[in-house]
């Protein structure tokens, strides 16, 4: 795909995103907003998993940190624009603290550390009700007010979220296009060679994890004004797994994977209401089947189909190739 084609398709997608909620009821707009927010969380996890090759099971708890920090501060009168960055900084620091020991050792220890961390965060949120409201949660957080532009209405909040999502995506694109992105690609294609060329794989992996966690925090800080009610159960392990599966299903290591994956996980159940209780069973079975045949996710399937239909000489195709989950 030439870069002109790419820019064109991004613009088309953006136009679709702008137009999508129009004419629909509040509930659908809410679902679409939810999709954008989880796409942000999935984008962050994609950096950790798809680009740096580490499994994190704590993305929901970073959302929790962002959500609760934003909630407490906005309830105390701070503006969202000031509350949100604090949540992000907190997530970054926690990400570094958590990732540093876990990534020092070989093996998938980050998966277990994040698993434990997620549960710990849940316990703290549930038990320390003097701060977090415990199981009852926090309620009544205001939607941000920017003077001329208010986000009380569902539709306005959607556009606000869309703006933030686009910014977040641009930042991620900047990271992926930079020499860091090249180092990540090297890390997942041939980590030994990368080390021997001076790539400090431990350090960039840790940073990828910390940045990915910040994205989780950003998503959380948007959940707070969206739902205006948060409680510990929304950020438990099952949700971390959900976000992980979003990344995998969409296509780990592909830039747009998280958007597709989040779409599948959030929009599909809405459309397949009739499956009710069986939804998760079908879904998890399909994920397993997908991992057997096309581990590179839906985008991977798309790439394969495209190659079948139009075999072209690969020129500068490296930016389009996704990860192979190693």
């Amino acid at each position: 795909m030439g870069s002109r084609m790419r820019v064109l398709s991004v613009l088309v997608l953006l136009a679709l995103a702008l137009v999508a909620p129009l004419g629909h009821g509040n509930y659908i707009v809410y679902v679409l907003t939810s999709w954008l927010i989880f796409a942000i969380a999935a984008m962050g996890l994609n950096l950790t998993l798809g680009y740096a090759g580490q499994i994190s099971l704590a993305q929901a708890s970073f959302m929790a940190i962002g959500a609760y920090a934003t909630a407490l501060l906005t309830l105390a009168g701070w503006h969202w624009v000031l509350a949100m960055p604090l949540g992000l900084v907190l997530c970054f620091i926690v990400g570094l603290l958590l990732g540093y020991p876990a990534l020092r050792v070989k093996g998938h220890f980050l998966a277990f550390v994040t698993l434990a961390f997620n549960t710990l965060v849940f316990l703290v949120l549930r038990n320390e009700d003097w701060l977090t409201g415990g199981s009852y949660g926090l309620v009544g957080m205001p939607r941000p007010d920017f003077g001329l532009f208010q986000t009380m209405k569902q539709l306005h909040f959607y556009y606000f979220t869309l703006g933030i999502t686009v910014l977040a995506a641009l930042v991620m694109w900047g990271i992926v296009r930079s020499p860091w992105g090249r180092a990540f690609k090297a890390l997942r294609e041939n980590p030994i060679r990368a080390e021997s060329l001076g790539v400090d794989t431990r350090r960039i992996t840790l940073l990828a994890f910390a940045i990915g966690s910040v994205y989780g925090g950003l998503a959380g800080s948007l959940i707070t004004p969206l739902v205006q009610f948060i409680e510990p159960g929304s950020f438990n392990l099952a949700h971390s797994l959900r976000i992980l599966l979003m990344v995998v299903v969409g296509g780990a290591g592909y830039f747009f994977g998280p958007f597709i994956g989040a779409g599948v996980v959030i929009l599909l159940p809405e459309m397949l209401r009739f499956t009710e209780g069986y939804y998760l069973i079908i879904y998890s079975a399909l994920v397993i089947v997908m991992l057997i045949f096309v581990p590179s996710g839906l985008i991977g399937i798309g790439a394969r189909l495209r190659d079948r239909l139009r075999p072209r000489r690969e020129v500068r195709a490296d930016m389009h190739e996704g990860a192979r989950l190693q």
Partner: protein, 297 residues
């Protein structure tokens, strides 16, 4: 009156060891599969949750008595969680990479959990214990026969497993496969079969753990979350290099869990193993009994 706290302590300790020995079985199976088959099985908790439901189904659908149902449950578990797991999931996915396989086992865990919830019941079911509720007094502590039986059985299994791995030819072949599959293959070891045995053993261990722990936990589809976490933590805290590591890890968690519930807050009862995990990875990532390099079954 000095005896009461001491006897209470003994009770908590011994009961903790009994439960811990069951956790150890799950942790040992998990370690075996990780070491010998490069498979980090995130569905291990569900592997311990599920066999109990096979038993319940055998009793209610087939009308079998407990002992018959246990045997059926064990056979089904070994076939489904051992053979089928290896053939249908691990074998096709392992070539795609370790991470892909880990994620597949996570999806498998969800699949098993939701299937039980949907096809059997979302409610907790009582599960019969092998022993009647008789009690025995040891050093002033009141212990159920079931606890003693659990402890003895689990330790016996661990001893048998250790003897099998160290003293029999097959066992040593399995160890060789775990340490260096390429060299083992050259030396004539049927590596594929050794790996299969590993999965079968894990399934059997998980089934035994299931039968012993479910009377306490009650049979519920969501058991896998807790049991899985305990298995992982026990294995990592104990140390991957030896079965003994997982054994010690399991016992430790069983005891700590009981102690926390008895002496410390109930709210943060679940937190102690989690904190322990994070501390161990920080301070001594090879685990309490692990050695800094190398791995052995």
């Amino acid at each position: 009156m000095k005896e009461r706290p001491m006897s209470q302590f003994m009770q908590v300790l011994l009961s903790g060891l009994a439960t811990g020995s069951i956790y150890a079985l799950a942790a040992i199976g998990f370690t075996l599969v990780w070491q010998a088959a490069q498979t980090v099985n995130f569905a291990q908790g569900e592997f311990v949750m599920l066999p109990a439901f096979f038993v319940l189904a055998a009793m209610s659908l087939l009308g079998l008595p407990l002992w018959g149902a246990l045997i059926v449950g064990m056979i089904v578990a070994v076939i489904v969680l051992g053979l089928l797991f290896k053939k249908l999931i691990v074998e096709p996915i392992l070539p795609q990479g370790g991470i892909t396989l880990i994620i597949a086992t996570m999806a498998l865990g969800i699949l098993l959990k939701e299937s039980v919830k949907e096809f059997y019941s979302a409610e907790a079911q009582p599960f019969p214990s092998v022993f009647p509720g008789d009690h025995v007094e040891i050093m002033g502590a009141v212990l159920s026969l079931q606890d003693i039986f659990n402890l003895v059985l689990c330790l016996a299994i661990v001893v048998a497993l250790t003897l099998f791995l160290n003293r029999t030819r097959t066992g040593r072949c399995m160890q060789a496969t775990a340490q260096n599959p390429a060299v083992a293959e050259i030396l004539g070891v049927d590596v594929k079969r050794m790996i299969l045995y590993t999965f079968l053993i894990n399934a059997a261990l998980a089934a035994v753990a299931s039968f012993l722990i479910t009377p306490i936990y009650l049979a519920k589809f969501s058991n896998g979350e807790t049991l899985g976490m305990i298995a992982f933590i026990a294995a990592i805290v104990g140390g991957f290099n030896q079965i003994r590591g997982a054994l010690v890890g399991g016992l430790l968690i069983g005891v700590l869990d009981n102690m926390t519930a008895a002496y410390v807050t109930a709210e943060y009862r679940a937190a102690l193993p989690l904190v322990l995990l994070i501390v161990i990875i920080l301070v001594r990532p090879q685990g309490l009994l692990g050695t800094a390099e190398g791995r052995a079954v």
